[in-house]
Symmetry: C2
Subunit: 123 residues, 2 copies
């Protein structure tokens, strides 16, 4: 599942990161989620890369949804352009764009299945 | 996170299960998700109980969101009353009740954190 980028056409909060730049760090409090508009982002836990995400993929949504600390670090794997979405904008997206909510649930379902199937046999 | 039961006040598809009854089985295709209106439900993988859910807790949403087979079996742990939600109703709930979508994301975030923290250290 990737997020339809149409809803971000006029996004005010577009950030640019150079390859290797740190977007956020494991354990920090987070006030934004992100959607990749261009480029790739690595998610790392400690020294291990757990996933590389590309265009249209969201990350950091957990901190926004349940207000708990970042579970991974996010590092720009290439130069990249990223939409930053704060809580107010997130609530507006979910309210006004049900497709965004469904795509976010699809992403989370995929992560749950990946963790369940590959690592645990849980669920 | 539990689901606000207000949206299910007029639910047509309310099911009743006696203690011990099987609601669905791991590996099956699923066309519904469920929200517990009264009672408790065990989720089992193989012979192991992985979670007991109570009033207001949803389950089986993964099959609806990404159309893949059930990852666990669901067994009534007590006599229970459960709202069954098919895809059409789910899409309507997400579109008309953003709070439902946010609560569902909250539930999924909690499951991801639980799996990440307790079992893996992943994310």
């Amino acid at each position: 599942v990737i997020i339809d980028l149409g809803v971000f056409a006029d996004e005010a909060d577009v950030l640019r990161f150079e390859k290797g730049a740190r977007i956020f760090t494991e354990g920090e409090d987070g006030k934004h989620m992100y959607v990749i508009l261009e480029g790739d982002v690595d998610l790392r836990v400690g020294m291990a890369r757990v996933e590389t995400l590309g265009q249209g993929e969201p990350f950091g949504e957990m901190a926004l949804i349940d207000l708990s600390p970042r579970m991974a670090s996010a590092i720009a794997a290439t130069d990249c352009t990223i939409a930053a979405i704060n809580e107010e904008r997130f609530l507006k997206l979910v309210s006004e764009h049900p497709t965004f909510a469904l795509q976010m649930m699809g992403v989370m379902a995929g992560r749950l299945r990946l963790m369940g199937r590959k690592k645990l046999g849980f669920r």
